[in-house]
Symmetry: C2
């Protein structure tokens, strides 16, 4: 191979340790897979029908970089319905997935050498995107106070330096299931206003919430002039992971810049998936409610199994579809998950994949059929009971 190399700044972007574990699993048969953040349910038929109809109707051409105006209006309408928030379509950019919303939004605010605060444990992609921008993530772990996670505001404040431009958090949290309180949101907004930071609230799990029909958005509390952005996705709410469709709500100037950058990232989300997204928003409420009821049963079942195992500590989550138990004495969660995979054929995500505060825990995605979740939880419980130190 020639001596011409890749860019060090690209090589520094860390590979997902969840994907790394999944790759081992993909070489094996009969694995009960709970490592990805994906429901086992296929996309509802009415959404698939909408995509087929969009193709028949000729939606096979370029759309604008910000997405079809009709979809942007449907998203604005959904915020009015769910959150009582009035958005202008100019504040909404359709993206080709939730992660693409994170990517475009973060790229709009970070220069090389900048820093971003990321509240962790968290899905690794926000920190990785900060690194892709040749900027530096500063991860501040949430703390377990009694049976609830809390933001360590003092640690956040002291991590903010002259190069800090952005604070990212996820609520409902992947992997914790923790959800911000109204007081958390006010304090985060106050802090970001005071310290001159952009605030990114990843709310892609807002519909998977056990305290009501939707987790209250930060958009209810901020003004349209606040330096706030909210990535969203169709993946979790409508079982559309494979479709790669999402959006970004942001202050008008950022939304405009993100749409411009879209031209050079992916141009726009596919035309026919955008049309399907419109129908998902319009007709998806019954499906969301049924899915959340099923997820609540799964959550309660998985919690009940874990609580019979000594040495596993796990608060009851407010939202999302994960449990993230802390395992007493666990120092190498990747090795734990690797052994669990090889010995018991159960695939979980190692806590170390979720950044600062993640090591020592494992992530279970309970959005699985009970015929998978049941034996997986039993094998995990057996493994924990018999566990050697690792």
């Amino acid at each position: 191979m020639s001596a011409i190399r890749l860019a060090p700044s690209a090589e520094r972007v860390p590979y997902s340790r969840i994907r790394e574990l999944a790759e081992i699993a993909m070489t094996m048969d009969g694995v009960l897979k709970l490592y990805f953040g994906e429901s086992n349910l296929p996309t509802p038929q009415f959404i698939k029908d909408a995509a087929a109809q969009a193709l028949a109707d000729g939606h096979t051409f370029y759309t604008s970089n910000a997405g079809y105006p009709s979809l942007r209006r449907a998203i604005a309408e959904k915020y009015r319905e769910l959150h009582g928030v009035e958005l202008d379509t100019e504040e909404i950019v359709v993206t080709a997935s939730g992660v693409q919303a994170l990517n475009a939004g973060i790229r709009c605010v970070l220069d090389p050498g900048d820093e971003a605060i990321v509240l962790t444990p968290a899905w690794p992609n926000a920190s990785a995107i900060v690194t892709m921008c040749s900027a530096t993530p500063r991860e501040i772990p949430l703390c377990l106070a009694g049976d609830r996670y809390v933001i360590d505001f003092a640690a956040v404040e002291s991590a903010i330096g002259p190069q800090t431009r952005l604070l990212v958090y996820t609520s409902p949290s992947n992997p914790l299931g923790w959800t911000t309180t109204g007081q958390d949101q006010e304090r985060l907004l106050d802090l970001c206003r005071r310290r001159g930071l952009w605030l990114m609230a990843d709310e892609v799990y807002e519909r998977l919430y056990y305290g009501g029909p939707v987790a209250p958005s930060i958009l209810r509390r901020c003004t349209r002039d606040d330096a706030v952005m909210v990535p969203q996705s169709f993946s979790k709410s409508y079982c559309m992971t494979g479709w790669r469709l999402g959006w970004l709500v942001a202050r008008r100037d950022l939304a405009r810049q993100a749409a411009q950058l879209n031209e050079f990232i992916v141009s726009h989300a596919p035309a026919m998936t955008q049309k399907a997204g419109e129908i998902a928003l319009r007709d998806g409420e019954t499906g969301v409610a049924e899915m959340v009821a099923r997820l609540r049963e799964n959550r309660d079942y998985a919690l009940s199994v874990l609580r019979q195992v000594p040495g596993a500590t796990v608060p009851c989550p407010d939202g999302a579809f994960y449990l993230f138990p802390r395992i007493d004495g666990l120092r190498d969660s990747f090795e734990f998950c690797r052994r669990l995979l090889v010995q018991k054929r159960v695939g979980l995500a190692p806590g170390v994949a979720f950044g600062a505060g993640g090591e020592g825990s494992i992530r279970i995605c309970y959005a699985a059929d009970r015929t998978v979740l049941g034996p997986a939880m039993e094998r995990l419980a057996d493994f924990l009971r018999a566990r050697p130190a690792c």
Copy 2:
């Protein structure tokens, strides 16, 4: 609005002047639109059927970051068939559009402060992506020698500095229709090997070629160890612009890194569009041949009109679906196109949008129905004949 600003490095990414003109056109009625690089033909029915079937078959879940193995195998098979080139699937990454292949590929090789040579006039996205990477594009225009464009190798050599990492060219060219000769390819490869540069050959128009069934790929001439990458797209060959599906062929280490970065850009192309892409590759040959025959007629027609107008110089293109006439005395192609739009309701792309060497020309996309192309060319000819200096 708060004082918290966007990142200067994001604001520096220039907006497409084609999109800028299109936005004016979208406020008007009855415009004959030839400004985008998009055929007027909808996607063939068998490809739409394949997508509907993929949805019915349950392709609604995550795929791997590099795309379905079956699609990567189909792409490798197509290179064997068209170019006699043997590729390993590890050298192929499926992307969510041609531009996403450019984006991931360029990001893999540029650090902030690096430089890239871009042969122009060219679709602006390569230079814009270089800027998005906080690197600097150095645009070197092709020169018109008689009735053919040629690469100014001396200018390229002298533009290469210690920070230069990459040379990008497009063949068949958007907007020129110019296609590299075998000798061009050998000289470009030699230059890049000698000067230690990555070579990106954007070949998305390879099937729209008037000299044979496919424009010969650089992959025929380089080894699998050369620092070469080729972005590709389903958009132009199969009338799939709105689907956002493409791929990148690259040296194994770059392909691996690009797949990893995909995780943080868009994760993967939608599952059902990937399956449709497989069928397009398998069953699309008749459609490609028919489309190219029709494009050749349109090219010859549009050329014949232009050649009757004094003051317009345009070589006969080898490929793609554009004419890029140089207009005598034209100094502001955006203003020319704006006036043509307002006065004649014909939408063209201004040459200035295509970087160094583009000003003074206009781009006509002739992939239009003759009922649109005919009157558009006549109005353009009238406008040119009556043109005041501008």
